[in-house]
Amino acid sequence: MSRNTITRNLLATLIAGLFMPVGAQAADADLLKKIEALTQQLEQLKAQVQASQEASRQAVAAVGEVKEKVQKNEDRSTEKWLTIGGDYQFRVDSLSGETKAFLMPTGLTTPPVSVPSYKPKNETLYTNRFGLDLNAKATQDVSVTARLMMYKTFGNNDDNATSGPYFADRVGVFDGTLGHVPSSSYLNVDRVYATWSNIADQEIWFSVGRRPSTHGAPSNLRTNAPRPGTGGTPALLVDYAFDGMTLGWAPDIDALPGAYGKICYGRGFESGYSSPLTNSIKDTDMVGISVVPIDTDALRVWTQWNRGMNIFDSPKLYASAFGMSMQPTTNLGDIDWFGAGAMGTVKKLGPGDLNWFADVGLSMTHPNSNMNAMGLGLLTGVLGSPEAANDKTGTAFYFGLRYDLPSKTKLGLEFNHGSKNWITFAPASSDSWTSKVGTRGNVYEAYLIQELDKKPISSAQAKTFFRLGFQYYDFQYTGSNNWVGTPVKMSNVTGATMLPMIPLSKAYNAYATFEVKF
Protein backbone atom coordinates (compact mmCIF):
# COMPACT_ATOMS: atom_id res chain seq x y z
CA MET A 1 0.00 0.00 0.00
CA SER A 2 1.42 3.42 -0.92
CA ARG A 3 1.92 6.17 1.54
CA ASN A 4 -0.82 8.18 -0.25
CA THR A 5 -3.35 5.37 0.18
CA ILE A 6 -2.64 5.05 3.85
CA THR A 7 -2.86 8.78 4.30
CA ARG A 8 -6.17 8.87 2.43
CA ASN A 9 -7.61 6.07 4.61
CA LEU A 10 -6.51 7.81 7.76
CA LEU A 11 -8.12 11.05 6.68
CA ALA A 12 -11.37 9.22 5.83
CA THR A 13 -11.36 7.57 9.20
CA LEU A 14 -10.76 10.85 10.98
CA ILE A 15 -13.55 12.58 9.07
CA ALA A 16 -15.94 9.67 9.84
CA GLY A 17 -14.96 9.84 13.48
CA LEU A 18 -15.87 13.51 13.55
CA PHE A 19 -19.47 12.80 12.33
CA MET A 20 -20.03 9.83 14.67
CA PRO A 21 -20.42 11.88 17.94
CA VAL A 22 -22.91 14.19 16.18
CA GLY A 23 -25.10 11.17 15.31
CA ALA A 24 -24.72 9.82 18.80
CA GLN A 25 -25.44 13.22 20.26
CA ALA A 26 -28.59 13.42 18.15
CA ALA A 27 -29.74 10.03 19.50
CA ASP A 28 -28.96 11.10 23.07
CA ALA A 29 -30.96 14.26 22.68
CA ASP A 30 -33.87 12.26 21.40
CA LEU A 31 -33.55 9.88 24.26
CA LEU A 32 -33.40 12.72 26.72
CA LYS A 33 -36.51 14.20 25.24
CA LYS A 34 -38.26 10.89 25.62
CA ILE A 35 -37.04 10.56 29.18
CA GLU A 36 -38.26 14.03 29.96
CA ALA A 37 -41.63 13.22 28.43
CA LEU A 38 -41.89 10.02 30.45
CA THR A 39 -40.87 11.85 33.56
CA GLN A 40 -43.58 14.40 32.97
CA GLN A 41 -46.11 11.63 32.39
CA LEU A 42 -44.96 9.93 35.55
CA GLU A 43 -45.38 13.12 37.53
CA GLN A 44 -48.83 13.52 36.06
CA LEU A 45 -49.73 9.97 37.00
CA LYS A 46 -48.40 10.50 40.50
CA ALA A 47 -50.53 13.57 40.83
CA GLN A 48 -53.56 11.68 39.56
CA VAL A 49 -52.97 8.84 42.02
CA GLN A 50 -52.59 11.29 44.87
CA ALA A 51 -55.75 13.05 43.83
CA SER A 52 -57.53 9.73 43.60
CA GLN A 53 -56.27 8.66 47.02
CA GLU A 54 -57.40 11.94 48.49
CA ALA A 55 -60.82 11.52 46.91
CA SER A 56 -60.97 8.00 48.23
CA ARG A 57 -60.07 9.17 51.75
CA GLN A 58 -62.77 11.80 51.56
CA ALA A 59 -65.26 9.19 50.34
CA VAL A 60 -64.39 6.86 53.20
CA ALA A 61 -64.75 9.70 55.67
CA ALA A 62 -68.13 10.59 54.14
CA VAL A 63 -69.31 6.98 54.33
CA GLY A 64 -68.17 6.87 57.93
CA GLU A 65 -70.19 9.98 58.72
CA VAL A 66 -73.24 8.53 56.97
CA LYS A 67 -72.87 5.26 58.89
CA GLU A 68 -72.60 7.18 62.14
CA LYS A 69 -75.74 9.15 61.31
CA VAL A 70 -77.58 5.96 60.35
CA GLN A 71 -76.46 4.31 63.59
CA LYS A 72 -77.57 7.32 65.63
CA ASN A 73 -80.94 7.29 63.90
CA GLU A 74 -81.26 3.55 64.49
CA ASP A 75 -80.32 4.00 68.15
CA ARG A 76 -82.98 6.66 68.51
CA SER A 77 -85.52 4.63 66.56
CA THR A 78 -88.26 3.33 68.82
CA GLU A 79 -88.12 -0.02 67.03
CA LYS A 80 -84.77 -0.61 68.67
CA TRP A 81 -86.01 -0.22 72.23
CA LEU A 82 -89.84 -0.26 72.26
CA THR A 83 -92.08 -3.18 71.31
CA ILE A 84 -95.82 -2.67 71.04
CA GLY A 85 -98.34 -5.46 70.64
CA GLY A 86 -101.67 -6.57 71.92
CA ASP A 87 -104.87 -8.44 71.32
CA TYR A 88 -108.60 -8.06 70.85
CA GLN A 89 -111.20 -10.66 71.80
CA PHE A 90 -114.91 -10.78 71.06
CA ARG A 91 -116.55 -13.53 73.09
CA VAL A 92 -120.08 -14.89 73.29
CA ASP A 93 -121.06 -17.17 76.17
CA SER A 94 -124.19 -19.20 76.65
CA LEU A 95 -124.42 -20.08 80.31
CA SER A 96 -126.81 -22.37 82.14
CA GLY A 97 -126.84 -24.33 85.36
CA GLU A 98 -128.82 -26.26 87.95
CA THR A 99 -129.04 -25.37 91.61
CA LYS A 100 -130.09 -27.33 94.67
CA ALA A 101 -132.83 -26.22 97.01
CA PHE A 102 -131.38 -24.67 100.19
CA LEU A 103 -131.92 -22.17 102.99
CA MET A 104 -130.57 -18.67 102.35
CA PRO A 105 -129.61 -16.59 105.41
CA THR A 106 -131.16 -13.11 105.52
CA GLY A 107 -129.46 -11.69 108.59
CA LEU A 108 -128.62 -12.37 112.19
CA THR A 109 -132.10 -11.48 113.44
CA THR A 110 -134.31 -12.59 110.56
CA PRO A 111 -135.16 -16.17 109.62
CA PRO A 112 -133.56 -17.72 106.54
CA VAL A 113 -135.47 -17.99 103.30
CA SER A 114 -136.15 -21.28 101.55
CA VAL A 115 -134.92 -21.16 97.97
CA PRO A 116 -136.11 -23.93 95.64
CA SER A 117 -133.89 -25.44 93.01
CA TYR A 118 -133.89 -23.64 89.71
CA LYS A 119 -131.95 -23.33 86.46
CA PRO A 120 -130.14 -20.03 86.12
CA LYS A 121 -129.08 -19.06 82.63
CA ASN A 122 -127.77 -16.29 80.48
CA GLU A 123 -128.35 -17.39 76.93
CA THR A 124 -126.16 -14.80 75.25
CA LEU A 125 -123.47 -12.80 76.96
CA TYR A 126 -121.33 -10.74 74.60
CA THR A 127 -118.05 -9.25 75.78
CA ASN A 128 -115.19 -7.21 74.37
CA ARG A 129 -111.68 -7.56 75.68
CA PHE A 130 -108.69 -5.50 74.63
CA GLY A 131 -105.08 -5.83 75.74
CA LEU A 132 -102.12 -3.59 74.91
CA ASP A 133 -98.58 -4.87 75.52
CA LEU A 134 -95.55 -2.63 75.84
CA ASN A 135 -91.95 -3.57 76.39
CA ALA A 136 -89.27 -0.92 76.72
CA LYS A 137 -85.55 -1.64 76.88
CA ALA A 138 -84.65 1.21 79.18
CA THR A 139 -80.95 0.56 79.70
CA GLN A 140 -78.60 -2.34 79.18
CA ASP A 141 -80.09 -5.33 81.06
CA VAL A 142 -83.11 -3.37 82.38
CA SER A 143 -86.53 -3.38 80.78
CA VAL A 144 -90.06 -2.36 81.68
CA THR A 145 -93.00 -4.47 80.58
CA ALA A 146 -96.62 -3.42 80.78
CA ARG A 147 -100.00 -4.83 79.82
CA LEU A 148 -103.11 -2.67 79.82
CA MET A 149 -106.49 -4.39 79.67
CA MET A 150 -110.13 -3.53 79.15
CA TYR A 151 -112.87 -6.13 79.49
CA LYS A 152 -116.45 -5.06 79.03
CA THR A 153 -119.85 -6.62 78.59
CA PHE A 154 -121.92 -5.49 75.62
CA GLY A 155 -124.58 -3.09 76.85
CA ASN A 156 -123.15 -2.81 80.33
CA ASN A 157 -120.44 -0.71 81.94
CA ASP A 158 -120.08 -2.61 85.22
CA ASP A 159 -119.72 -6.19 86.43
CA ASN A 160 -123.40 -6.81 87.19
CA ALA A 161 -123.99 -9.14 84.24
CA THR A 162 -121.04 -11.39 85.11
CA SER A 163 -121.32 -11.37 88.90
CA GLY A 164 -123.54 -13.72 90.81
CA PRO A 165 -124.19 -15.20 94.24
CA TYR A 166 -122.91 -18.62 93.19
CA PHE A 167 -119.14 -18.51 93.57
CA ALA A 168 -116.81 -16.44 95.76
CA ASP A 169 -114.50 -15.60 92.86
CA ARG A 170 -117.39 -14.15 90.83
CA VAL A 171 -119.29 -12.05 93.38
CA GLY A 172 -117.66 -9.03 91.84
CA VAL A 173 -114.45 -7.79 90.29
CA PHE A 174 -111.62 -7.05 92.72
CA ASP A 175 -107.95 -6.13 92.68
CA GLY A 176 -106.39 -9.23 91.17
CA THR A 177 -109.20 -9.98 88.68
CA LEU A 178 -109.57 -6.54 87.07
CA GLY A 179 -109.29 -6.95 83.32
CA HIS A 180 -109.86 -10.70 83.55
CA VAL A 181 -113.53 -10.64 84.54
CA PRO A 182 -115.79 -8.33 82.50
CA SER A 183 -116.38 -5.04 84.24
CA SER A 184 -116.12 -1.73 82.38
CA SER A 185 -114.58 0.12 79.46
CA TYR A 186 -111.76 1.46 81.62
CA LEU A 187 -108.28 0.57 80.50
CA ASN A 188 -106.57 -0.84 83.58
CA VAL A 189 -102.98 -1.78 84.25
CA ASP A 190 -102.98 -5.55 84.40
CA ARG A 191 -99.21 -5.91 84.45
CA VAL A 192 -96.32 -3.53 84.87
CA TYR A 193 -92.93 -4.61 86.07
CA ALA A 194 -89.29 -3.72 85.75
CA THR A 195 -86.79 -6.52 85.19
CA TRP A 196 -83.06 -6.37 85.75
CA SER A 197 -81.44 -9.27 83.86
CA ASN A 198 -77.90 -10.61 83.59
CA ILE A 199 -77.06 -9.58 87.15
CA ALA A 200 -73.32 -9.96 87.80
CA ASP A 201 -73.03 -11.24 84.22
CA GLN A 202 -74.92 -14.34 85.29
CA GLU A 203 -78.34 -15.62 84.26
CA ILE A 204 -79.83 -14.03 87.36
CA TRP A 205 -82.73 -11.62 87.29
CA PHE A 206 -84.77 -9.47 89.63
CA SER A 207 -88.23 -8.29 88.68
CA VAL A 208 -90.72 -6.17 90.61
CA GLY A 209 -94.16 -4.76 89.96
CA ARG A 210 -97.62 -5.98 89.03
CA ARG A 211 -96.66 -9.48 88.13
CA PRO A 212 -97.37 -11.71 85.10
CA SER A 213 -99.09 -14.13 87.49
CA THR A 214 -102.18 -14.75 85.39
CA HIS A 215 -102.97 -17.22 82.58
CA GLY A 216 -99.91 -19.36 83.15
CA ALA A 217 -99.13 -22.78 81.71
CA PRO A 218 -100.94 -24.93 80.68
CA SER A 219 -103.88 -22.53 80.15
CA ASN A 220 -101.93 -21.08 77.20
CA LEU A 221 -102.94 -24.15 75.17
CA ARG A 222 -106.69 -23.49 75.29
CA THR A 223 -106.21 -19.75 74.86
CA ASN A 224 -103.86 -20.33 71.88
CA ALA A 225 -101.12 -18.26 73.48
CA PRO A 226 -97.37 -18.97 73.60
CA ARG A 227 -95.86 -20.58 76.66
CA PRO A 228 -95.09 -17.98 79.32
CA GLY A 229 -91.39 -18.92 79.45
CA THR A 230 -89.56 -18.13 82.67
CA GLY A 231 -92.31 -15.75 83.66
CA GLY A 232 -95.71 -16.84 84.83
CA THR A 233 -97.18 -19.12 87.45
CA PRO A 234 -98.78 -22.55 87.12
CA ALA A 235 -102.46 -21.99 86.35
CA LEU A 236 -103.56 -24.78 88.71
CA LEU A 237 -102.14 -22.95 91.73
CA VAL A 238 -102.10 -19.23 90.97
CA ASP A 239 -104.10 -17.12 88.54
CA TYR A 240 -104.30 -13.68 90.15
CA ALA A 241 -102.67 -10.36 89.29
CA PHE A 242 -100.32 -10.05 92.25
CA ASP A 243 -98.26 -7.01 93.08
CA GLY A 244 -94.91 -8.45 94.06
CA MET A 245 -91.40 -9.39 93.05
CA THR A 246 -89.25 -12.26 91.82
CA LEU A 247 -85.62 -13.27 92.08
CA GLY A 248 -84.68 -15.88 89.52
CA TRP A 249 -81.70 -17.90 88.37
CA ALA A 250 -81.28 -20.01 85.25
CA PRO A 251 -78.10 -22.10 85.65
CA ASP A 252 -76.41 -23.52 82.59
CA ILE A 253 -76.70 -27.29 83.12
CA ASP A 254 -76.18 -29.37 79.99
CA ALA A 255 -78.21 -32.28 81.37
CA LEU A 256 -81.11 -29.97 82.29
CA PRO A 257 -81.78 -27.73 79.31
CA GLY A 258 -83.80 -24.64 80.14
CA ALA A 259 -83.63 -25.20 83.90
CA TYR A 260 -84.44 -22.29 86.17
CA GLY A 261 -85.68 -21.48 89.65
CA LYS A 262 -87.23 -18.45 91.23
CA ILE A 263 -88.37 -17.08 94.55
CA CYS A 264 -91.57 -15.05 94.32
CA TYR A 265 -93.39 -12.75 96.67
CA GLY A 266 -96.75 -11.04 96.31
CA ARG A 267 -99.04 -8.90 98.42
CA GLY A 268 -102.67 -10.00 98.15
CA PHE A 269 -104.07 -7.36 100.48
CA GLU A 270 -102.64 -4.17 101.97
CA SER A 271 -104.35 -3.36 105.25
CA GLY A 272 -103.04 0.17 105.62
CA TYR A 273 -102.54 1.87 108.98
CA SER A 274 -103.08 -0.10 112.14
CA SER A 275 -106.21 0.60 114.12
CA PRO A 276 -105.70 2.32 117.49
CA LEU A 277 -108.85 0.88 119.03
CA THR A 278 -109.40 -2.63 117.71
CA ASN A 279 -107.27 -5.51 116.53
CA SER A 280 -105.82 -4.60 113.19
CA ILE A 281 -106.19 -6.84 110.23
CA LYS A 282 -102.83 -7.92 108.86
CA ASP A 283 -101.60 -7.71 105.28
CA THR A 284 -102.14 -10.83 103.20
CA ASP A 285 -98.89 -11.97 101.63
CA MET A 286 -97.83 -14.86 99.48
CA VAL A 287 -94.36 -16.33 99.00
CA GLY A 288 -93.33 -19.16 96.76
CA ILE A 289 -90.46 -21.11 95.28
CA SER A 290 -90.67 -22.45 91.78
CA VAL A 291 -88.18 -24.93 90.31
CA VAL A 292 -88.36 -25.89 86.65
CA PRO A 293 -85.67 -28.51 86.02
CA ILE A 294 -86.35 -28.85 82.30
CA ASP A 295 -87.90 -26.38 79.91
CA THR A 296 -87.84 -27.39 76.24
CA ASP A 297 -90.49 -27.66 73.56
CA ALA A 298 -90.53 -31.43 73.94
CA LEU A 299 -90.78 -31.42 77.73
CA ARG A 300 -91.33 -28.91 80.49
CA VAL A 301 -91.40 -30.03 84.12
CA TRP A 302 -92.40 -27.71 86.94
CA THR A 303 -92.56 -27.91 90.71
CA GLN A 304 -93.78 -25.22 93.07
CA TRP A 305 -94.51 -24.46 96.68
CA ASN A 306 -96.29 -21.30 97.70
CA ARG A 307 -97.77 -20.14 100.98
CA GLY A 308 -100.49 -17.57 101.57
CA MET A 309 -100.16 -15.89 104.94
CA ASN A 310 -102.88 -14.07 106.91
CA ILE A 311 -105.51 -15.03 104.34
CA PHE A 312 -108.35 -12.48 104.33
CA ASP A 313 -111.98 -13.52 104.81
CA SER A 314 -113.22 -11.43 101.87
CA PRO A 315 -111.67 -9.47 99.03
CA LYS A 316 -112.27 -5.75 98.85
CA LEU A 317 -115.22 -5.06 96.56
CA TYR A 318 -116.89 -1.74 95.95
CA ALA A 319 -119.99 -3.51 94.65
CA SER A 320 -120.86 -7.17 94.95
CA ALA A 321 -123.57 -9.54 93.78
CA PHE A 322 -125.03 -9.18 97.30
CA GLY A 323 -125.81 -5.55 96.60
CA MET A 324 -123.25 -4.16 99.00
CA SER A 325 -119.57 -3.44 99.23
CA MET A 326 -117.32 -5.98 100.90
CA GLN A 327 -113.94 -5.83 102.52
CA PRO A 328 -111.62 -7.94 104.66
CA THR A 329 -112.58 -7.96 108.32
CA THR A 330 -110.26 -10.60 109.73
CA ASN A 331 -107.35 -12.91 108.92
CA LEU A 332 -108.31 -16.58 108.89
CA GLY A 333 -104.92 -18.30 108.81
CA ASP A 334 -102.42 -19.62 106.27
CA ILE A 335 -102.53 -21.95 103.28
CA ASP A 336 -99.70 -24.02 101.79
CA TRP A 337 -99.83 -25.15 98.20
CA PHE A 338 -97.67 -27.77 96.53
CA GLY A 339 -97.79 -28.54 92.86
CA ALA A 340 -95.96 -30.37 90.10
CA GLY A 341 -96.58 -31.07 86.49
CA ALA A 342 -95.29 -31.61 83.03
CA MET A 343 -96.19 -30.55 79.54
CA GLY A 344 -94.70 -31.21 76.15
CA THR A 345 -95.12 -31.52 72.42
CA VAL A 346 -94.80 -34.65 70.33
CA LYS A 347 -94.06 -33.50 66.82
CA LYS A 348 -95.33 -35.24 63.73
CA LEU A 349 -97.64 -37.66 65.48
CA GLY A 350 -99.65 -38.46 62.40
CA PRO A 351 -100.33 -35.39 60.30
CA GLY A 352 -100.02 -32.99 63.22
CA ASP A 353 -98.35 -32.26 66.55
CA LEU A 354 -99.70 -33.42 69.90
CA ASN A 355 -99.46 -31.13 72.91
CA TRP A 356 -100.10 -32.68 76.31
CA PHE A 357 -99.99 -31.73 79.97
CA ALA A 358 -100.59 -33.26 83.39
CA ASP A 359 -100.57 -31.27 86.66
CA VAL A 360 -101.28 -32.16 90.28
CA GLY A 361 -101.82 -29.89 93.24
CA LEU A 362 -102.18 -30.16 97.00
CA SER A 363 -103.56 -27.50 99.35
CA MET A 364 -103.16 -27.51 103.14
CA THR A 365 -105.07 -24.99 105.21
CA HIS A 366 -103.81 -23.87 108.64
CA PRO A 367 -106.69 -21.92 110.19
CA ASN A 368 -106.40 -19.79 113.28
CA SER A 369 -109.34 -19.28 115.62
CA ASN A 370 -110.71 -16.28 113.74
CA MET A 371 -114.08 -16.38 111.97
CA ASN A 372 -115.94 -14.01 109.73
CA ALA A 373 -119.20 -12.29 110.65
CA MET A 374 -121.14 -15.45 109.68
CA GLY A 375 -119.13 -17.62 112.09
CA LEU A 376 -117.11 -19.32 109.35
CA GLY A 377 -113.35 -19.91 109.40
CA LEU A 378 -110.69 -21.12 106.98
CA LEU A 379 -112.48 -24.16 105.52
CA THR A 380 -114.21 -24.58 108.89
CA GLY A 381 -117.77 -24.28 110.06
CA VAL A 382 -121.20 -24.27 108.50
CA LEU A 383 -123.80 -21.58 109.10
CA GLY A 384 -125.20 -21.96 112.57
CA SER A 385 -122.55 -24.50 113.54
CA PRO A 386 -119.02 -23.16 114.04
CA GLU A 387 -116.11 -25.60 113.87
CA ALA A 388 -112.87 -25.54 115.79
CA ALA A 389 -109.82 -24.70 113.72
CA ASN A 390 -108.26 -27.76 112.15
CA ASP A 391 -105.95 -28.23 109.17
CA LYS A 392 -107.47 -29.67 106.03
CA THR A 393 -105.85 -31.07 102.92
CA GLY A 394 -107.24 -30.99 99.41
CA THR A 395 -105.97 -32.37 96.13
CA ALA A 396 -106.49 -31.67 92.47
CA PHE A 397 -105.29 -32.92 89.15
CA TYR A 398 -105.60 -31.38 85.73
CA PHE A 399 -104.65 -32.88 82.39
CA GLY A 400 -105.31 -32.33 78.73
CA LEU A 401 -104.37 -32.75 75.11
CA ARG A 402 -104.36 -30.46 72.11
CA TYR A 403 -103.76 -31.75 68.59
CA ASP A 404 -102.52 -29.22 66.05
CA LEU A 405 -103.18 -29.97 62.39
CA PRO A 406 -101.30 -28.46 59.43
CA SER A 407 -104.53 -26.68 58.46
CA LYS A 408 -104.07 -24.53 61.61
CA THR A 409 -106.96 -26.34 63.24
CA LYS A 410 -106.35 -27.24 66.87
CA LEU A 411 -108.52 -29.69 68.81
CA GLY A 412 -108.38 -29.80 72.60
CA LEU A 413 -109.73 -31.84 75.48
CA GLU A 414 -109.22 -31.08 79.17
CA PHE A 415 -110.31 -32.58 82.46
CA ASN A 416 -109.73 -31.49 86.01
CA HIS A 417 -110.85 -32.79 89.36
CA GLY A 418 -110.75 -31.20 92.79
CA SER A 419 -111.40 -32.93 96.11
CA LYS A 420 -113.67 -31.75 98.91
CA ASN A 421 -111.12 -29.50 100.59
CA TRP A 422 -109.28 -28.39 97.47
CA ILE A 423 -108.72 -24.65 97.35
CA THR A 424 -106.66 -22.76 94.82
CA PHE A 425 -105.87 -19.08 94.23
CA ALA A 426 -107.02 -18.63 90.64
CA PRO A 427 -109.94 -16.15 90.44
CA ALA A 428 -108.52 -14.38 87.36
CA SER A 429 -109.02 -17.34 85.04
CA SER A 430 -110.95 -16.76 81.84
CA ASP A 431 -113.84 -19.05 82.84
CA SER A 432 -117.22 -17.36 83.06
CA TRP A 433 -119.01 -19.37 85.78
CA THR A 434 -116.06 -19.78 88.10
CA SER A 435 -112.37 -20.65 87.77
CA LYS A 436 -112.57 -24.23 86.60
CA VAL A 437 -109.31 -25.31 88.28
CA GLY A 438 -110.83 -24.48 91.68
CA THR A 439 -113.80 -26.78 91.20
CA ARG A 440 -114.58 -29.28 93.95
CA GLY A 441 -115.75 -31.90 91.53
CA ASN A 442 -115.10 -32.54 87.84
CA VAL A 443 -114.86 -30.25 84.85
CA TYR A 444 -114.79 -31.43 81.27
CA GLU A 445 -113.85 -29.11 78.45
CA ALA A 446 -113.58 -29.56 74.69
CA TYR A 447 -112.54 -26.84 72.29
CA LEU A 448 -111.58 -26.13 68.73
CA ILE A 449 -109.31 -23.37 67.53
CA GLN A 450 -109.14 -22.36 63.90
CA GLU A 451 -106.48 -19.87 62.86
CA LEU A 452 -106.95 -17.93 59.65
CA ASP A 453 -104.20 -18.52 57.14
CA LYS A 454 -103.20 -14.87 56.89
CA LYS A 455 -99.73 -13.41 56.52
CA PRO A 456 -98.63 -11.60 59.70
CA ILE A 457 -97.97 -7.91 59.24
CA SER A 458 -97.80 -6.10 62.58
CA SER A 459 -95.46 -8.66 64.12
CA ALA A 460 -94.18 -12.16 63.48
CA GLN A 461 -96.61 -13.53 66.06
CA ALA A 462 -99.67 -11.73 64.72
CA LYS A 463 -102.61 -14.01 64.04
CA THR A 464 -106.39 -14.17 63.84
CA PHE A 465 -108.43 -17.12 65.03
CA PHE A 466 -111.75 -18.44 66.23
CA ARG A 467 -112.33 -20.56 69.31
CA LEU A 468 -115.33 -22.73 69.99
CA GLY A 469 -115.61 -24.51 73.30
CA PHE A 470 -117.86 -26.21 75.79
CA GLN A 471 -117.41 -26.70 79.53
CA TYR A 472 -119.39 -28.99 81.80
CA TYR A 473 -118.99 -28.55 85.55
CA ASP A 474 -120.08 -31.35 87.88
CA PHE A 475 -119.84 -29.85 91.38
CA GLN A 476 -119.57 -32.54 94.02
CA TYR A 477 -119.11 -30.20 96.98
CA THR A 478 -120.24 -26.67 97.71
CA GLY A 479 -117.99 -23.65 97.88
CA SER A 480 -115.67 -24.11 94.89
CA ASN A 481 -113.03 -21.37 94.92
CA ASN A 482 -114.11 -20.32 98.42
CA TRP A 483 -111.88 -20.85 101.46
CA VAL A 484 -114.51 -19.71 103.94
CA GLY A 485 -116.60 -22.43 105.56
CA THR A 486 -116.69 -26.21 105.34
CA PRO A 487 -117.61 -27.66 101.96
CA VAL A 488 -120.82 -29.69 102.01
CA LYS A 489 -121.31 -32.73 99.82
CA MET A 490 -123.70 -31.67 97.06
CA SER A 491 -125.76 -34.83 97.37
CA ASN A 492 -126.35 -33.94 101.05
CA VAL A 493 -127.67 -30.45 100.30
CA THR A 494 -131.39 -30.29 100.91
CA GLY A 495 -133.99 -27.62 101.37
CA ALA A 496 -132.99 -27.52 105.05
CA THR A 497 -129.32 -26.85 104.44
CA MET A 498 -128.29 -23.26 105.18
CA LEU A 499 -125.51 -22.05 102.91
CA PRO A 500 -123.93 -18.61 102.39
CA MET A 501 -124.06 -18.90 98.58
CA ILE A 502 -126.43 -20.52 96.09
CA PRO A 503 -125.31 -24.12 95.53
CA LEU A 504 -124.86 -24.77 91.83
CA SER A 505 -124.66 -28.52 91.27
CA LYS A 506 -124.07 -28.41 87.54
CA ALA A 507 -123.02 -25.71 85.12
CA TYR A 508 -122.71 -25.54 81.37
CA ASN A 509 -120.87 -22.98 79.30
CA ALA A 510 -120.76 -22.93 75.52
CA TYR A 511 -118.51 -20.18 74.22
CA ALA A 512 -117.13 -18.81 70.99
CA THR A 513 -114.53 -16.14 70.38
CA PHE A 514 -113.05 -14.16 67.54
CA GLU A 515 -109.56 -13.05 68.46
CA VAL A 516 -106.82 -10.98 66.91
CA LYS A 517 -103.27 -10.85 68.21
CA PHE A 518 -101.03 -8.10 66.83
Partner: protein
Protein backbone atom coordinates in the same frame (compact mmCIF):
# COMPACT_ATOMS: atom_id res chain seq x y z
CA UNK B 1 -22.21 -51.80 65.82
CA UNK B 2 -21.61 -48.13 66.51
CA UNK B 3 -23.53 -47.24 63.39
CA UNK B 4 -26.48 -49.40 64.45
CA UNK B 5 -26.50 -47.85 67.91
CA UNK B 6 -26.46 -44.39 66.42
CA UNK B 7 -29.39 -45.23 64.16
CA UNK B 8 -31.28 -46.65 67.10
CA UNK B 9 -30.72 -43.57 69.22
CA UNK B 10 -31.79 -41.30 66.39
CA UNK B 11 -34.95 -43.34 65.88
CA UNK B 12 -35.81 -43.12 69.57
CA UNK B 13 -35.23 -39.39 69.54
CA UNK B 14 -37.47 -38.93 66.51
CA UNK B 15 -40.21 -41.10 67.99
CA UNK B 16 -40.09 -39.16 71.25
CA UNK B 17 -40.35 -35.91 69.38
CA UNK B 18 -43.39 -37.21 67.47
CA UNK B 19 -45.11 -38.29 70.68
CA UNK B 20 -44.61 -34.97 72.37
CA UNK B 21 -46.23 -33.05 69.56
CA UNK B 22 -49.65 -31.95 70.88
CA UNK B 23 -52.74 -33.31 69.14
CA UNK B 24 -55.23 -30.84 67.69
CA UNK B 25 -56.15 -28.50 70.58
CA UNK B 26 -59.62 -29.26 72.15
CA UNK B 27 -62.19 -26.48 71.63
CA UNK B 28 -63.07 -24.28 74.61
CA UNK B 29 -66.61 -23.16 75.33
CA UNK B 30 -67.22 -19.51 74.71
CA UNK B 31 -70.10 -17.78 76.46
CA UNK B 32 -71.54 -14.45 75.46
CA UNK B 33 -74.61 -12.28 75.59
CA UNK B 34 -75.52 -10.62 72.33
CA UNK B 35 -78.33 -9.20 70.26
CA UNK B 36 -79.38 -11.07 67.15
CA UNK B 37 -78.62 -9.03 64.05
CA UNK B 38 -79.07 -11.69 61.40
CA UNK B 39 -80.43 -15.20 61.08
CA UNK B 40 -79.67 -17.13 57.93
CA UNK B 41 -81.40 -20.48 57.52
CA UNK B 42 -79.93 -23.12 55.27
CA UNK B 43 -82.07 -24.05 52.28
CA UNK B 44 -82.80 -27.49 53.74
CA UNK B 45 -83.78 -26.00 57.10
CA UNK B 46 -81.42 -28.29 58.99
CA UNK B 47 -78.95 -25.64 60.07
CA UNK B 48 -78.64 -21.92 60.45
CA UNK B 49 -76.15 -19.19 61.10
CA UNK B 50 -76.99 -16.53 63.62
CA UNK B 51 -74.98 -13.36 63.97
CA UNK B 52 -74.92 -11.78 67.40
CA UNK B 53 -73.60 -8.38 68.33
CA UNK B 54 -71.76 -8.80 71.61
CA UNK B 55 -73.31 -6.44 74.16
CA UNK B 56 -69.91 -5.76 75.74
CA UNK B 57 -67.47 -5.51 72.85
CA UNK B 58 -69.90 -4.62 70.09
CA UNK B 59 -68.24 -7.18 67.85
CA UNK B 60 -70.24 -9.44 65.58
CA UNK B 61 -70.00 -13.17 66.15
CA UNK B 62 -71.54 -15.74 63.84
CA UNK B 63 -72.66 -18.98 65.44
CA UNK B 64 -73.59 -22.19 63.66
CA UNK B 65 -76.78 -23.83 64.91
CA UNK B 66 -77.95 -27.34 64.18
CA UNK B 67 -80.22 -28.29 67.14
CA UNK B 68 -83.87 -28.76 66.19
CA UNK B 69 -85.34 -26.74 69.06
CA UNK B 70 -83.45 -23.57 68.20
CA UNK B 71 -84.12 -24.05 64.49
CA UNK B 72 -87.85 -24.36 65.27
CA UNK B 73 -87.68 -21.11 67.23
CA UNK B 74 -86.08 -19.41 64.24
CA UNK B 75 -88.76 -20.75 61.90
CA UNK B 76 -91.71 -19.62 63.97
CA UNK B 77 -90.02 -16.37 65.00
CA UNK B 78 -89.87 -17.09 68.68
CA UNK B 79 -86.29 -15.94 68.24
CA UNK B 80 -85.75 -13.15 65.73
CA UNK B 81 -83.63 -10.10 64.99
CA UNK B 82 -83.36 -7.81 67.98
CA UNK B 83 -83.73 -10.52 70.62
CA UNK B 84 -81.07 -10.68 73.31
CA UNK B 85 -79.52 -14.12 73.50
CA UNK B 86 -77.26 -15.89 75.97
CA UNK B 87 -75.16 -18.19 73.81
CA UNK B 88 -72.58 -20.88 74.44
CA UNK B 89 -70.55 -22.28 71.59
CA UNK B 90 -67.26 -24.02 71.03
CA UNK B 91 -64.41 -21.88 69.81
CA UNK B 92 -63.51 -24.43 67.13
CA UNK B 93 -66.02 -23.76 64.38
CA UNK B 94 -68.40 -21.66 66.51
CA UNK B 95 -70.83 -24.56 66.86
CA UNK B 96 -73.70 -23.69 69.16
CA UNK B 97 -74.16 -25.57 72.42
CA UNK B 98 -76.80 -23.35 73.97
CA UNK B 99 -78.82 -20.54 72.39
CA UNK B 100 -81.61 -19.05 74.44
CA UNK B 101 -83.20 -15.74 75.23
CA UNK B 102 -81.95 -14.09 78.39
CA UNK B 103 -84.20 -15.04 81.27
CA UNK B 104 -86.40 -12.65 83.15
CA UNK B 105 -89.74 -11.87 84.87
Amino acid sequence: MRKNLTQLLVSIALASAALTVSPIASADDVKMVGVVTKIKMAADGKSAQATLKDVKSGEAVTINITDDETLDKFKDKRIQDGDEIRAKFDSNGNKSKSFKKTAGC
